[in-house]
């Protein structure tokens, strides 16, 4: 296996628990990630799956250092980034990009698509030749050049998500975090976006962390899978191995709970014969 681009050891993250916040004063911390160890090999797509509250999104945010871990280390390309300051992180940011779940709220409604894609380029000192660079980014995700002058609301959901991808990839990053990027899309659009991401990941040699609640999507796209539950890694293995012989009972439960689009009378289990309520 390729050497790791990102290496995580003993990662713990605690965030303020707002449900227990007193009226005055700070909310107590709740441990969300409880000691994680894993590697993301260079050029691989890794699926991170779990149910709501499993900590998968928090893990993603820690990987791109939007939040600081309270213990453990995250090394990126051999350098520990877990406690770098914002200023120290800035030169690394172009290599740690994100594609968000909801392109409607992650694209600025008052800016044109051109200006949205150009923003990270300017911030990272690639402001020369902007027109050509944005044109290349649009072409890469299969959007016509005329879209550069449009606004977010003039695009369909799938087109918006393409803009999100174009923005993240404009800097040719080494690492991309994709957090539930297809969960708001129709199946036909979902298929297009995943096919696009698959193609770009291969072409550009991206290392991708693909967070999703949908194991079917993960099987198609990812080479390895990390199954999370309540802030811990339940199982991590190569994708085919995970589906063919899942080791953990929870993984098996997750897989068997997916309703496949085929008739299976036994899937719901035997319905108890209870008498009708009166």
């Amino acid at each position: 296996m390729a050497e790791p681009l990102i290496s995580v050891r003993g990662l713990k993250v605690a965030l303020p628990d707002m449900t227990r916040k007193p009226l005055i004063g700070r909310a107590p911390l709740a441990e969300i990630l409880k000691g994680l160890d894993f590697d993301l090999p260079k050029g691989s797509v890794t699926g991170i799956v779990g149910e709501s509250g499993s900590g998968k999104s928090t893990l993603g945010r820690a990987l791109v250092r939007l939040i600081e871990p309270c213990a453990g280390s995250i090394s990126f390309d051999g350098r520990d980034i877990s406690h770098l300051s914002e200023a120290e992180l800035r030169p690394l940011r172009r290599n740690l990009q994100m594609i968000f779940q909801d392109p409607m709220s992650s694209l600025n409604p008052r800016r044109t698509i051109f200006s949205i894609i150009a923003a990270p380029l300017k911030q990272n000192g690639l402001g020369d030749n902007l027109k050509a660079r944005v044109a290349e980014a649009l072409q890469r995700v299969g959007l016509p050049q005329s879209f550069a002058s449009r606004y977010r609301h003039q695009l369909s959901g799938g087109q918006r998500q393409r803009v999100g991808i174009a923005r993240a990839l404009a800097l040719s990053p080494k690492f991309v975090l994709a957090d539930e990027i297809v969960s708001g899309l129709d199946v036909s659009t979902q298929a297009q976006i995943l096919t696009l991401l698959e193609k770009l990941a291969t072409e550009m040699g991206l290392t991708v962390a693909f967070i999703s609640h949908d194991l079917s999507v993960i099987r198609r796209l990812c080479q390895q899978v990390i199954v999370m539950r309540e802030g811990r890694i339940i199982e991590a293995s190569a994708t085919d191995a995970l589906f063919d012989s899942p080791k953990d009972a929870y993984t098996r439960e997750l897989i068997s709970a997916i309703p496949l689009p085929e008739i299976d009378a036994g899937w719901l289990g035997t319905l108890a014969t209870t008498k009708a309520l009166t």
């Binding site: 149910e51 085929e262 299976d264």
Partner: protein
């Protein structure tokens, strides 16, 4: 036996004259689950709203009949219509958090409907709700009834609303994407509960969903919608073994399947979309002729 719900050639338009429902016909027999499946904009939620009489004011029904247990909803006076719909139908919504009033405890919220709309006594309503909470496997009804909606998990909230929907013994339930917001393991439990209660009570369900996986597991009949038009209508088993319409086949191929990752998640072919556009245009033209 007459159908529980019979929709005949229902068309609805927006103020600009655009049709959002295109001569939709479908029926739900007593005790049957009919799935309405389609992508966003297909009109599946719109049909559910039309049945419940809660269409947005901008949408106008211009043609067609809806019969609820043989009663023509279009011929009833508004008040009689509302009373009939209130007594014989119920809704299981997609998002239980927005469907529940955040500032009232669960108990009074869900018994109120039985008291106010059906004229039950408070005691009878309370007893009934407790029976149903038991049926949806809520172990500590006392606590749940005293909770505010935000104090319950998504799965618990959906259980509460399922209990509330079945409590009044409706003949027809409109379930609008009831499991879309839930985790897969919870989704399976909820689908099981709905199937169980539906069978025990002989309730007919109009089950709106975008997920062909859910269609396969919960329904006996299915209508595939595109742009407000029923493009295929079939017994669920037949749709999955031999889908007739190219769009049904395309949807099937686009749906992810972990058992067959390479053959699934296929983008919908442009030729299929062009065919659909032509089909819609032809239907609209044929419809406009007599309607000016």
């Amino acid at each position: 036996m007459s159908a529980c719900l019979d929709i005949r050639s229902l068309s609805a338009v927006l103020p600009n004259g655009q049709r959002v429902l295109r001569s939709v016909s479908l029926s739900v027999q007593p005790g049957e689950v009919r799935a309405l499946v389609g992508e966003s904009g297909a009109g599946k939620t719109m049909i559910g709203k039309a049945v419940l009489g809660v269409l947005p004011s901008s949408v106008r029904i211009v043609e067609g009949d809806m019969l609820l247990e043989g009663e023509d909803l279009g011929r009833l006076a508004p008040k009689a219509r509302r009373t009939l719909i209130g007594a014989r139908t119920a809704l299981i919504p997609q998002d239980p958090l927005t469907a529940l009033n955040p500032s009232r405890r669960i108990g009074p919220q869900i018994t109120d409907r039985l008291v106010r709309i059906l004229g039950w006594s408070g005691e009878r309503a309370d007893k009934r709700i407790r029976q149903l909470l038991d049926a949806v496997q809520i172990r500590d009804p006392e606590r749940v009834l005293k909770c505010y909606p935000h104090e319950l998990s998504g799965g618990m909230r959906q259980r509460v609303l399922i209990a509330a929907a079945f409590a009044a013994e409706p003949r027809l339930i409109v379930a609008d994407e009831p499991t879309t917001a839930l985790d897969v393991t919870v989704q399976k439990q909820i689908l099981r509960l709905i199937a169980q209660l539906q069978r025990d009570h002989g309730t007919a369900i109009l089950f709106v969903t975008h997920d062909l996986g859910v269609v396969a597991k919960i329904s006996q009949k299915v209508s595939v919608l595109y742009a407000g038009k029923v493009v295929e209508e079939a017994a669920t088993a037949d749709l999955f073994t031999a889908p007739q319409h190219p769009y049904s086949r395309a949807l099937m191929a686009a749906t992810p399947r972990y058992t067959d990752p390479l053959a699934s998640l296929k983008p919908v072919d442009d030729a299929v979309l062009a065919g659909l556009a032509a089909e819609i245009a032809a239907a609209d033209q044929a419809w406009r002729r007599p309607h000016g």
